[in-house]
């Protein structure tokens, strides 16, 4: 059973529809025990980092999420959910994250191409890291949908499983450290390619 974490800030409905579409069984929950028992966990996220972490804290979910990740439960953070896997974010002040994939969340950098728009909105081409088991076999040129102003910058380059180009530089689009995975794009809003990437997570064995 996949647990989709409901902490008040995420597009649960759309993620649910996408999971239905790929035939994955899930339950929407904010219950620590359900998260501890889950086979897989999806952490959605839309909005602001500090606010979202506070939402997790209020429901006592930070500990259970870390524990589940530590024991090897596959965990997928989507969009803001991916950012929350990091140590901290600089969005609206300094806020601590879950610390599951070391590194900070920073504002997108357009210094190399100042006319680049922020937020980064639209369909972008994924460049997967050769050899990453999660991304292995991804159709070249696969495009997925992004809408974000911040992005994690992992300390360890081996935690970056795919990038996109932003203002002339690569930024993390997929991050992975063993069973902990992050998709900066919205797999539930990226057409068939997105559904395929959601399916990859559902079937992934760390």
């Amino acid at each position: 059973m996949i647990a989709v974490v409901d902490y008040g800030r995420g597009n649960i409905y759309s993620i649910g529809q996408a999971l239905n579409r790929i035939g994955a069984e899930f339950s929407v929950t904010d219950n620590a025990a359900a998260i501890a028992d889950a086979d897989r966990i999806v952490l959605p996220g839309v909005g602001a980092f500090g606010d979202a972490m506070a939402g997790l804290e209020r429901r006592g979910l930070i500990g259970p999420l870390k524990a589940a990740a530590e024991k090897g439960t596959p965990l997928l953070g989507i969009c803001l959910g991916m950012q929350m896997l990091a140590d901290a974010s600089e969005e609206f002040g300094e806020h601590a994250g879950l610390g599951l994939i070391p590194g900070r969340v920073r504002k997108l950098d357009r210094s190399a191409a100042r006319e680049t728009r922020i937020p980064n909105v639209g369909w972008r081409r994924l460049s997967p890291k050769p050899g990453d088991r999660l991304m292995d076999g991804l159709t070249p040129g696969a495009m997925v949908y992004f809408v974000h102003s911040y992005v994690p910058t992992p300390d360890d380059a081996t935690d970056i499983a795919a990038t996109i180009d932003f203002a002339g530089r690569p930024v993390a689009a997929v991050i992975r450290r063993d069973n902990v995975i992050g998709y900066q794009f919205h797999p539930e809003k990226s057409g068939d390619v997105g559904l395929g990437l959601l399916k990859r997570f559902v079937e992934f064995v760390a």
């Binding site: 800030r9 597009n11 649960i12 409905y13 759309s14 529809q17 996408a18 239905n20 579409r21 839309v46 909005g47 602001a48 606010d51 803001l80 609206f92 006319e115 728009r117 922020i118 937020p119 909105v121 639209g122 369909w123 495009m143 949908y145 809408v147 974000h148 102003s149 919205h186 539930e188 809003k189 990226s190 057409g191 068939d192 997105g194 559904l195």
Partner: protein, 248 residues
């Protein structure tokens, strides 16, 4: 360059009884949306054009249904007035809201919304009508004056927390005589957030022209698709032919 069909939801509304309780028939709008998504629409915008009649947006059933088998971003506009309105719309499957009247009447609303939910889900919709040397921002579906310069308002909206600007030319809208590219360019030059241009596209060449001038990051079109003047693949090909990056 994103290609975004706009669906104005009005005909689906059925009024029953003396208490004006409306029941939305969601069929038509969703049929159109599914067709567009299958044809390659990068996003879809749903506008509730009778929202002012009911003082609120009532597209929730339409969106819930759409989100069941359309997996591209959905934006909903019309009658969005409070942060709660936005939360309800997002919970029903929409990804962004388009706000016009409520934002220009009380710009602080944008700050509140952005703080609560993030700028990326806030699209400020500006309907611009030519006046003298510039454009005036209008509300209530182009019927009410605000005496505000549309381009200046776009700059303020960005400052207050808008994630994107949806700029519609009232003069060109529905004419299929081409976009108001000067309007798009003025707004595009004024802000650093994405700008979606809308109003007047009648053929693929009109859309390609907008790409050639680099004056928008996305195009939002209604008539050209609803009246089958040029299907989405034709428009995308025209964009690719002038070198714009498009999703195949």
């Amino acid at each position: 360059m994103r290609v975004i069909p706009r669906i104005d939801v009005r005909n689906d509304h059925v009024i029953k009884g003396i208490h004006l309780e409306g029941v939305r028939k969601v069929g038509r709008s969703n049929e159109m949306a599914r067709k567009y998504a299958a044809a390659g629409a990068d996003e879809i915008v749903f506008m509730d054009v009778v929202a002012s009649l009911y003082g609120r947006n009532s597209l929730l059933p339409v969106i819930e249904e759409a989100a069941k088998d359309i997996f591209v971003p959905l934006t909903v506009g019309g009658g969005i007035r409070t942060v709660d309105d936005i939360v309800h719309v997002l919970r029903s499957g929409a990804d962004k809201v388009a706000i016009n009247t409520a934002a220009i009447e009380r710009p602080a609303f944008l700050e509140e919304a952005a703080k609560a939910l993030g700028s990326q889900c806030i699209v400020v919709s500006i309907e611009a009508k030519r006046t003298g040397a510039g454009w005036e921002a209008m509300t209530h579906n182009g019927r009410q004056h605000t005496a505000r310069d549309a381009v200046e308002w776009a700059a303020e909206a960005e400052h207050r927390g808008a994630g994107e600007i949806l700029i519609t030319s009232i003069d060109q809208e529905g004419t299929m005589a081409g976009f108001d590219l000067d309007l798009f360019e003025r707004v595009h030059d004024k802000v650093l957030i994405p700008v979606i241009g809308c109003g007047g596209a009648g053929n693929a060449a009109h859309v390609a022209e907008a790409a050639r001038r680099h004056c928008v990051d996305a195009v939002c079109c209604a008539s050209i698709f609803h009246f089958d003047k040029a299907p989405i693949p034709t428009v995308k090909k025209a964009l690719a032919d002038v070198g714009a990056a498009v999703r195949p």
